[in-house]
Symmetry: C2
């Protein structure tokens, strides 16, 4: 028999925290206790931050980015090159691209990849809106920055086929050795791709 | 240059989530995005649960447990054996003891262990309140259920010395092979303890 030790309030908090990615039942208990202990310094600010996020955060109807305005900061930034759209699977990938600061383009967040086995078809992703953006003109290049997984590549091929009738240039990220990476730890596919795309030193 | 991609609201949420144990900067970003995506099913309930927890959760002034009443459910339960106090380091240890349902006793949460190197002395822990509870009478046994670490054992010895002048019996948890554990993976100290405390089969 599991005795009732704490009120249902903390049990409910633990259950909800356990739904966050990266937290299981045990770490959710630790997180809940940590919050209770750091009431002023963490629990109150986190509650306020969540309230504010609930109140203000929206999904950009143009690109699918998460922001406090729609269209988002990136879509409405006139300094961004609107001729280039980088297609990513998820907002976290958009953030990763932005951290790299490699290009000053706009984005399109698919919200996942095509995955017939999981029942994810084209209509479940933001693919139609991407085609609309391209058809509306002004786009010269679509960079498919999807993950180098089977589902990611399937999605990339599907989008390439859809955009075949347009004037837009469809590109993908280069494969190769990660910067700082050690050959010994790389798979054969990556090494083969790096050899094939070798450049003059 | 790191460009500003999202509003400060989501940045603040990520920073606060990253302070939870078990979440780093990267998993906090994933958790924040997950919350934004699961706005109705997770973000709103979690915000409400935090608000309710902030409103209701208190620390029991008798035993240090986390609950919605002071004294807590355990301290005010007449069916609990008040003659036995189980001393634990943290509320998570109290919960672990309760999950085992091994004993129907009351508790005392120290809030940590003595750790001279980290500047944690007896006055930083709930040790004086434990001595008070014992001196007030009615307690026959104090079970030191602290962790089997150096700091835990130091704390156990310190409390034993403090209670030496009282009538109370001070015990500690048995050392031995964990149930379901494999000898091959156990340290020498545990095997030695298990041999020394062997029982008739």
């Amino acid at each position: 028999m599991q005795k009732r030790v704490a009120g249902p309030e903390i049990e409910r908090l633990i259950q909800l925290l356990a739904k966050l990615p990266g937290l299981g039942p045990r770490s959710a208990r630790r997180a809940a206790l940590h919050l209770v202990k750091k009431r002023e310094s963490l629990m109150q600010p986190l509650t306020a931050a969540l309230e504010e996020a609930l109140d203000k955060i929206v999904i950009c109807t143009t690109c699918g980015n998460v922001d406090t305005s729609d269209p988002c900061t990136i879509c409405s930034d006139p300094r961004r090159d609107g001729h280039v759209i980088i297609v990513v699977e998820d907002v976290s990938d958009l953030w990763a691209m932005e951290r790299a600061s490699a290009i000053n383009a706009k984005y399109h967040v698919l919200g996942g990849t095509l995955s017939p086995l999981d029942g994810v078809g084209p209509s479940d992703l933001n693919i139609a809106t991407l085609v609309d953006r391209v058809r509306n003109g002004g786009v010269r290049e679509v960079i498919l920055a999807v993950n180098a997984t089977v589902d990611g590549q399937t999605t990339a091929h599907y989008i390439t086929d859809l955009l075949a009738g347009t004037e837009v240039r469809v590109t993908r990220l280069a494969h190769g050795v990660p910067v700082g990476g050690e050959l010994d730890y790389l798979d054969e596919g990556t090494i083969t791709a790096a050899i094939r795309s070798r450049t003059t030193f």
